[in-house]
């Protein structure tokens, strides 16, 4: 499920007991690949972890499998970083809980392609 702009569309997920709606902001190439016009909204079970959010992303958009995490070992791809609430979560591990504002749907989990060039 997507929405064109932050906060413009109700998701309905919050009505399901035990599930919360998490916002995920993807880089342009991945939005194009998955044909997403804006932020991706996914449902995840509490407690929400980085890994469970990415599981939900890949479940919602199978085309994104292998793009953020490698197939096989499931390691984060080296040029992909994960940010939220002005924190770098890239090295926190998949079982780490996301910050509360992300779990509460107030802030997005940012999937970022590392900068290149000069």
């Amino acid at each position: 499920m997507t929405k064109d702009a932050i906060g413009t569309e109700a998701t309905g997920y919050d009505d399901v007991p035990g599930l919360v709606t998490v916002r995920v902001a993807l880089p342009g190439h991945l939005r194009a690949l998955a044909n997403l016009p804006g932020e991706l909204l996914v449902e995840a079970s509490a407690p929400v972890t980085i890994g469970s959010v990415l599981d939900a992303v890949e479940r919602e958009c199978p085309a994104l499998r292998g793009t953020i995490r490698d197939h096989g070992a499931g390691a984060r791809r080296p040029y992909v970083r994960l940010f939220a609430c002005e924190e770098d979560l890239s090295f926190d591990g998949w079982d780490a809980p996301v910050p509360a504002p992300v779990a509460e749907g107030r802030e997005p989990l940012l999937v970022v392609g590392s900068i290149s060039g000069g």
Partner: protein
């Protein structure tokens, strides 16, 4: 014409006169498109290898000639523990999938396609790209001794034999050429006759930096090769190779193609050297041999003959199958040149694409 570039894919189309061309694209803008290939069994079925260092490998499939595309399976898992190959410095390096260099669609089944990948291996899909299975016997041919060329340890060419569906030829930089006669169940190196200055043993079974091989479909025992240095030929399906560089001004290069109707007419694009990946003397010249190699003539009409410093990569040359054979190639400067008269004259179809990685041609009814 299916063109893969550093920043997207393009589909160029024309009628049989091949004078006026329409450029569609970019598709997958911003992604590296190593190769776009069409199925001989269904020309509407196209395959595109889409990748970036950031987000990895994607496989895109079109079922309508490129009007629309859909991502299909992108999981390329080696069979078992692939172990190590050699790194540039001779130390072991774990085998790791990086990208698809080349698609070779089946001659008869639109849902079957092979993928040559880096680190070098051959994968096959029989379900329209939904899943990919490695053919691991190829790596068993001393794969632990394979060492990449500067461009990577990629399986870049797969040649199918129309007369014998069980026979295939695979070329790997910088391991050499390998042949299967049983549909991929077993392979062996076929590099006898190759001489490579970068190897201590000139009779080495593997380690030769083969840039490209090609075959005329009506003469499946004859293959031509552009090696790192040397243009080579075999007339016994790779059992023995001999040099046909002849009077070329330099025999370094990447691309080699055979005329669609004349098995003894061959095209190469000589490049100055492995130190200088640009045309000799700033002149972009295709060389044509009408005698199966040995004697070559420069084809320059319509090509820049001064101040030209582009390269033509291994997958960036193709021929069509019209009565007057068309020849096409793309450059790292973003030009795509076409000749509708077997190379006698050339025109640029488009001049300012991103660096061209691959060119394939479909001749549609």
């Amino acid at each position: 014409m299916l063109v893969g570039t550093r920043k997207g894919a393009f589909v160029l189309s024309s009628d049989g006169t091949r004078k006026d061309w329409k450029v569609n694209g970019p598709f997958f803008n911003g992604w590296e498109i190593f190769h776009v290939a069409g199925s001989p069994a269904d020309p509407n079925r196209l395959w595109a290898s889409q990748s970036t260092s950031w987000f990895g490998q994607q496989v895109q499939r079109s079922d309508n000639g490129g009007a629309s595309w859909q991502p299909v399976g992108n999981e390329f898992g080696y069979v078992g523990d692939p172990g190590d190959h050699l790194w540039y410095d001779g130390t072991p390096k774990p085998w790791k999938f990086t990208r698809v260099w080349h698609f070779e669609p089946s001659l008869t089944d639109p849902d079957t396609v092979w993928a040559g990948v880096e680190d070098a291996a051959l994968f096959r899909s029989g379900d329209g790209g939904a899943s990919w299975q490695e053919m691991p016997a190829l790596r068993e041919v001393r794969g632990h001794e394979w060492m990449p060329g500067a461009g990577g340890l990629g399986l870049h060419t797969l040649v199918l034999d129309r007369a014998d569906p069980q026979r295939m030829f695979a070329a790997i930089s910088a391991a050499g050429v390998f042949r299967t006669d049983d549909g991929g169940a077993s392979w062996r190196a076929i590099n006898k006759g190759l001489r490579s200055g970068h190897l201590p043993d000139q009779d080495a079974e593997i380690g030769h930096c083969v840039h490209r091989i090609t075959m005329h479909p009506e003469r499946p025992s004859t293959l031509y090769m552009q090696k790192h240095w040397d243009v080579m030929r075999t007339d016994d399906a790779g059992e023995n190779w001999y040099e046909v560089s002849g009077d070329l001004p330099t025999d370094f290069g990447f691309a080699v193609q055979v005329h669609a109707h004349e098995p003894e007419t061959v095209y190469v694009v000589p490049i100055t050297s492995d130190e200088f990946h640009v045309p000799l003397d700033g002149k972009l010249r295709v060389y044509r041999s009408r005698s199966g190699g040995g004697e070559w003539e420069p084809l320059t009409n319509g090509l820049p003959q001064r101040d030209c410093y582009v390269d033509v990569l291994r997958d960036a040359m193709a021929v069509d199958s019209l009565e007057s054979c068309g020849v096409y190639f793309g450059t790292t400067g973003g030009q795509v040149y076409a000749s509708a008269d077997a190379g006698d004259t050339w025109q640029p179809i488009v001049r300012d694409l991103p660096p061209v990685l691959s060119v394939e041609v479909q001749t549609l009814p």
